[in-house]
């Protein structure tokens, strides 16, 4: 078993989940409660990774992070090395790729909250941020947990974007799914099978925990 790749994937998924928890929850809040008329455009952008081929997404992320782009050049000046084909690039790409998996379960559980609870909170002299922390978040904690679990699981299993942006550098960008691909290319089916089975079991366990949290059997996550 390629433990290096597994450790790398877990580290990547943990970092991406943490980042998406921080930025996904505010995005979900805004998507749920904003009355901006062009909101649907932003919703579409957030959901785009669901339908876009990973290669397309990876390609544009690669361009955006490459040494010819402003982002890539700024990164180079700051750190002294390029951004493409690094672990950091994987993080950036994965955050974008997993965004809908973090945002949609959270937005769905926000949407189920009775709006008069928020109005009651306001008339009791409590502002929006404190209302969010004391009412919205506690009442949608299952959705937030579901978002974290789905993000984690989705990041563990991603392949196309990782390959485009990170390549296949052992210990740096070779994730579990790429390791499986490598094993198959090398006709090491036994190794491929072990890792694949591990991912299969893990994915099932993740989804089972999400459904247990949400208890809505037919709403196939991510909820759109």
């Amino acid at each position: 078993m390629d433990w290096t790749a597994i450790a790398l994937s877990v580290r990547l998924a943990a970092i991406v989940s943490a980042i998406l928890l921080v930025i996904g929850v505010p995005i979900a809040y805004w998507l749920t409660f904003s009355s901006w008329r062009w909101r649907f455009l932003f919703e579409s952008i957030v959901a785009l990774p669901l339908v876009l081929p990973p290669t397309v997404l990876g390609f544009y992320v690669l361009l955006a992070l490459g040494s010819r782009s402003p982002i890539g050049r700024a990164w180079e000046r700051w750190t002294g090395h390029g951004l493409a084909f690094t672990f950091e690039a994987l993080v950036v790409a994965s955050v974008i790729y997993s965004l809908p998996f973090a945002v949609q379960p959270v937005a769905a559980s926000f949407a189920q909250i009775d709006r008069t609870l928020l109005e009651a909170s306001a008339t009791l002299g409590v502002g929006r941020l404190r209302t969010f922390l004391r009412v919205v978040l506690p009442l949608s904690i299952d959705g937030v947990l579901a978002g974290v679990v789905l993000t984690f699981a989705h990041t563990i299993g991603e392949f196309g974007v990782v390959l485009m942006v990170g390549g296949n550098l052992p210990g740096i960008t070779r994730t579990v799914s790429i390791s499986i691909y490598d094993s198959v290319q090398a006709f090491d089916f036994a190794a491929a099978n072990r890792t694949a089975l591990l991912l299969l079991v893990f994915s099932f366990a993740s989804l089972a925990s999400v459904y247990a949290l949400l208890r809505k059997p037919w709403a196939v996550a991510p909820l759109s």
Binding site: T116, A120, S121, L124, V126, R134
Partner: protein, 362 residues
Amino acid sequence: MSLEVRVRSRLSPRFQLDVAFTAAPGTTIVFGASGSGKTTLLRLVAGLQSPDEGRIAIDGRVVADTGARVHVAPPERRVGFVFQHLALFPHLTAAENIGYGLSRLPASERDARTRAIAASFGIAHLLGNRPAAISGGERQRVGLARALVTDPDVLLLDEPLSALDHETQSRIIADLRTWNDRRRIPILYVTHSQREAFALGERVLLLRGGAIAADGTPDTVLNAPSQESVAQLAGFENLLDAVVIERRPDAGVMVVRLAGIAVDLETPLMSFEAGQRIRVAIRAGDIMVAAEHPRALSARNIVGGTIGALSRQGAIVRLEVSVGVPIEVHVTPTATAALNLQTGRAVWLVIKTHSCHPVSAV
């Protein structure tokens, strides 16, 4: 302390709320059918909605003024709002719900105030329970306590007791009156229940189609309507076409003749001319039924008729008595049995002068 409201708000292409009034300390009942704009009025005062045009001042403090582009956010308005479905926080205990608006206070003072108001509303024993674990009447008290404990400058109640039985309603109304006797702030109390209006109101604003149709004591607004739609709204089952025959200012009465039949009724004197076509509103429960022609009665109106239909609805029996026109009468099941009331039987209806309310025909 007072509440000044002058607002205009278009809610749909065909409906506009347009009201102006000043509410003094004490309870002002906002009475009206559903869709008359009652809830919207409360939401405008609380700042949950903005008026298209107008000005709202609480105790002289302007909280909304479209001309000056003032819109004070709900948390800064110092209003207490009891929502129709209460909107208690389901994940918090009764104590946490009540103390929710006191989060700026130190924990010890918050606890003390929560306990004090819970004791005065008789819910001290269930402070540790979540809303799902307590009864409807108790929840109502938690909702009231939560709104009152913050010491608001104005209290807004949106049909707060409509889901409760009469006994619980009466007890909560008594508690609210006691509280209001100590803290003299304006209370806007939305309801479509006459019982609540009479029990609480020092003043009734009758809202119809987004406008104030009548303004006065519960007695004048709800008992002596001057327009037919008001009568319908206040639950008069009988609206009879009539013509004024004679005015007797010395006795404070007038005589009207029901249209198409030779039946005269004595009614209170109102500003209608002799010969004018009017309507007479009579509540079905204000009419007595006699099995024989009664004699030596103080009631001035005794009308003979025949029972055309009879149906029992819960604790009342609904009679349709034809006196030339059908008149609806409500009696008790025991009276029905004692008088042997049945379809086809001849009876006499007894109606006091002041149970006949003349209203304009248009």
